[in-house]
């Protein structure tokens, strides 16, 4: 469903993403983890067509993001790390606008917006300007926008940041439900607990390079060194420690 092929991004002498290749099968929750500045957000920006790669490409549901960006984007929903929205629109207007961009009729967009606002606990604030929303509310509204067109792929950059415990639990449940429904989820996160709980496959990025890829069991076997079932935290530190050495 998601195929990243030899993706590379260089800023002059600095290589932010270096020859990254991976595949995420349909219905999988893929965890993309790494230190700060490892290149996770740069990768996601290239996946979503927000940044042109130096070389390589990304295929979303078989559509090349550089050659057929509209087709690739039409099947994808995106939640950025910081939910910058249109402050002077109301929550309902925002969802109506985004729904329209994804080809929904005004009536369908309004119906779907109403349902999502209810699901994300924003129904009471639907008519208020977004500038009055808290970070967590903006995050939830942004996710509602990403889901309005029922995408087959969901790309999430740090979705748990800024959410209260209740919101974080609801988000985890939602992601599991979406994955069960067949949605492919590409999730970048700093929270190893979230990755461990949700992700069927995990990729670890370090200084732009993919240093580990596989299921939790495969990663444990890769970094276990005979220890019994180490946590993702241990695996993460082992792998990055080995890379640094």
């Amino acid at each position: 469903m998601i195929r990243i092929v030899a993706l590379r991004k260089a800023y002059g002498p600095l290589t932010a993403v270096d020859d990254l290749s991976l595949e995420v099968p349909a219905g999988t929750v893929f965890g993309f983890i790494g230190r700060n500045g490892a290149g996770k957000t740069t990768t996601i920006k290239m996946m979503m067509g927000l940044l042109a790669p130096t070389s390589g490409t990304v295929l979303l549901d078989g559509h090349d993001i550089r050659k057929a960006p509209e087709k690739a984007k039409a099947v994808t929903g995106f939640l950025p790390d910081r939910p910058h929205l249109y402050d002077k629109l109301t929550g309902a207007e925002y969802l109506g606008f985004v729904g329209g961009l994804y080809g929904l009729t005004a009536k369908d967009a309004a119906r779907r917006a109403g349902a999502l606002l209810g699901e994300f606990g924003l129904a009471a604030q639907a008519g208020e300007l977004i500038e009055t929303f808290s970070h967590g509310m903006k995050q939830r509204l942004s996710l509602a926008g990403a889901l309005i067109h029922r995408p087959r792929i969901l790309v999430l950059d740090e979705p748990m940041v800024g959410l209260d415990p209740e919101g974080a639990i609801a988000m985890r449940r939602l992601l599991l439900r979406l994955a069960t429904d067949g949605v492919t989820i590409f999730l970048s996160t700093h929270s190893l607990a979230v990755a461990e709980e949700l992700c069927g496959r995990i990729g670890i990025l370090d200084r732009g390079k993919l240093v580990a890829l596989g299921s939790m069991q495969e990663l444990r076997a890769h970094a276990g060194n005979g220890r019994e079932a180490p946590s993702l935290e241990t695996v993460f530190l082992d792998i990055l420690g080995a890379t640094a050495a």
Binding site: Y86, L89, E128
Partner: protein, 561 residues
């Protein structure tokens, strides 16, 4: 302890980094500043030189002009400081980390005060330097005058800055900060528009003519007394006039008065902020929640009005218009625009062209030819305010459009039509109205109307290209975006294009206009010349449109949020 200077370091370093990006920016800004200073110095020198020829009457006029100058500066500074202080003290995002740091409110005040003063006063300094320089030059003043002028200007800037901080703090304590800012922006818009109209009604063009200077001298002579002795503008003028040698006075007394008032107000401002900042800041954090019943109909009506449009342009139009109408920093600029248009049309109705003389007819022909350029230029000035900031105003929310399944080209075309349709209708309406006032033949007006369509397309396309090349994604104030370096370059490029178009069409159209004086029909050869000129101008503008479109699309593709 953190020093006040280190608090100002981020702003200074950011400015330095912008200047380091390339030599073009500082060079262009420097050249424009020098050109402006030269023009202002010449104008003030001319007026003051004339006053000197008036023997006993001269010093009085010199004094009154100086008082008038400082009074205008004071009014502008007071408004500007109040609006700026609202942002720097109570709305800026970088106040939060400062509040969390071990920094006293007094030091916070000092740092923000300097920032407010610098942001609000640069325009007054820009005009003040050539004006006071011209005074010194014309009156052959000694070094004491120049030192005093520098001190007066500095002290004079502190007073409205302190008053601005005090007024802002009082307003924030009473009203929510965003509501206050909107009200202030609308108030400023109205005041600037009123000021522009008043200045125009004073007929400043009379200054270009010796008899006009007599009239201006008369106006100044009738301009009240020499100013109230209780206001800083009078103290500033009273410090400088004796040092010019225009008449005797007590410069040290007035300078001391100015210095003591500035120091006292600065201390009051610091004490008030020290005592009340936390309360005022807390109040300023109250968001503005619009009543649903007043907001929703607007959006619904816009959706209905946009039904004939294709889906994506319709959506973008509704979104952009909704945001525009809800953002006072954007729509308040329409007030200034209305004043400019009224003045432009008034200028043409006030031209002395109706006496039937050869001179009047020749002037009409010249005004008609210039009208093509001036009409386009006025429309360009509007494009700088409304089209150039379009991309910047998408802000960090640009990702929403960029990750949607909409081709970049479609987004560009949507933005283009939103800018082009109102602008071309405006330009055509303006030219038809003014050409009618001038009594220009229909053929010439028709040539203008045809020329304006591709010309305005080029102006909008250039606006999007320059706006995308130098985006200010973190600025939410359209007026601020429209005064940046990119906006200046955009304006200059459009000016060059308009000048080229007028040059191409001037000769054949002048021939048609000359014939119309004797009510003679244009020959087929002359008509052909007009058609060729319009086609050549259109080819030029369409080329500019195409190049700007390509460059704009590239810039949009590179735009990273």
């Amino acid at each position: 302890m953190t020093s006040v200077l280190s608090l100002l370091q981020p702003r200074w370093l950011a400015t330095r980094n912008v200047l380091r990006r390339g030599p073009t920016r500082p060079l262009v800004i420097g050249a424009l500043t020098i050109a402006f200073w030269a023009a202002a110095f010449w104008l003030f020198g001319r007026v003051l030189g004339y006053f000197q020829t008036l023997a006993d009457f001269g010093p009085l006029l010199t004094q009154r002009l100086l008082v008038l100058l400082f009074m205008s500066f004071f009014g502008i500074l007071l408004i500007s400081n109040t609006v700026t202080a609202l942002t720097t003290f109570y709305l800026a995002s970088d106040v939060t980390p400062l509040l969390a740091s071990p920094l006293s409110f007094r030091r916070l005040h000092h740092a923000r005060f300097i920032e407010t003063l610098l942001s609000s006063s640069w325009m007054v300094v820009l005009v003040g330097i050539p004006a006071l320089g011209a005074y010194g030059f014309v009156y052959g003043a000694g070094p004491a005058y120049y030192f005093a002028a520098a001190a007066v200007l500095l002290l004079f800037l502190v007073i409205p800055a302190a008053l601005g901080v005090l007024v802002t703090t009082a307003l924030v304590l009473v009203f929510p900060a965003r509501g206050t800012r909107d009200a202030l922006l609308v108030g400023v818009g109205l005041m600037v528009a009123a000021m522009v109209v008043v200045v125009r009604m004073l007929d400043p063009e009379r200054l270009a003519h010796p008899s006009g200077l007599v009239g201006f001298a008369g106006f100044l002579a009738g301009f009240g007394a020499s100013g109230s002795p209780y206001v800083p503008s009078t103290w500033a003028a009273e410090t400088l006039i004796p040092l010019l040698g225009a008449r005797a006075g007590e410069p040290m007394f007035h300078l001391t008065l100015l210095a003591l008032t500035a120091a006292m107000l600065f201390l009051v401002s610091a004490t008030v902020v020290e005592q009340l900042f936390l309360t005022a800041w807390s109040r300023a954090q109250t968001g503005r929640v619009r009543a649903m019943e007043t907001e929703r109909p607007l959006s619904r009506w816009l959706v209905r009005l946009s039904w004939p449009l294709p889906r994506v342009p319709g959506l973008l139009l509704v979104k952009d218009v909704t945001v525009f109408l809800r953002d006072a920093s954007q729509w308040s600029q329409l007030l200034l625009l209305c004043a400019l248009v009224a003045i432009y049309v008034y200028n043409f109705s006030a031209l002395p062209l109706n006496d039937g003389s050869r001179l009047a007819l020749a002037m009409r022909d010249m005004a008609a030819i210039l009208n093509l350029g001036l009409g386009a230029f006025v429309t360009t000035a509007i494009a700088v305010r409304f089209v150039y900031p379009m991309i910047s105003l998408e802000g960090r929310a640009w990702w929403i459009l960029r990750t949607a399944p909409v081709a970049l080209e479609r987004l560009w075309w949507s933005k283009f039509w939103i800018g082009f349709v109102p602008l071309v209708l405006f330009a055509e309406g303006l030219v038809v109205t003014t050409n009618t006032l001038l009594g220009v033949p229909v053929l010439v007006t028709a040539a203008f109307l045809v020329t304006l369509i591709p010309l305005m397309a080029a102006v909008v396309s250039l606006g999007l290209a320059f706006g995308a090349s130098d985006p200010k994604l973190d600025s939410q104030n359209a007026a601020q975006i429209a005064t940046g370096f990119g906006a200046i370059m955009y304006m200059l490029t459009c000016l060059g294009l308009i000048a080229a178009v007028v040059s191409i069409e001037a000769w054949p159209l002048a021939r048609v206009l000359r014939l119309s004086r004797t009510e003679t029909m244009a020959t087929p050869e002359q008509l052909l010349l007009v058609v060729v000129a319009v086609c050549a101008a259109s080819f030029l503008t369409l080329t500019a449109f195409g190049l700007a479109r390509r460059s704009g699309l590239r810039a949009l593709d590179r735009l990273v949020v």
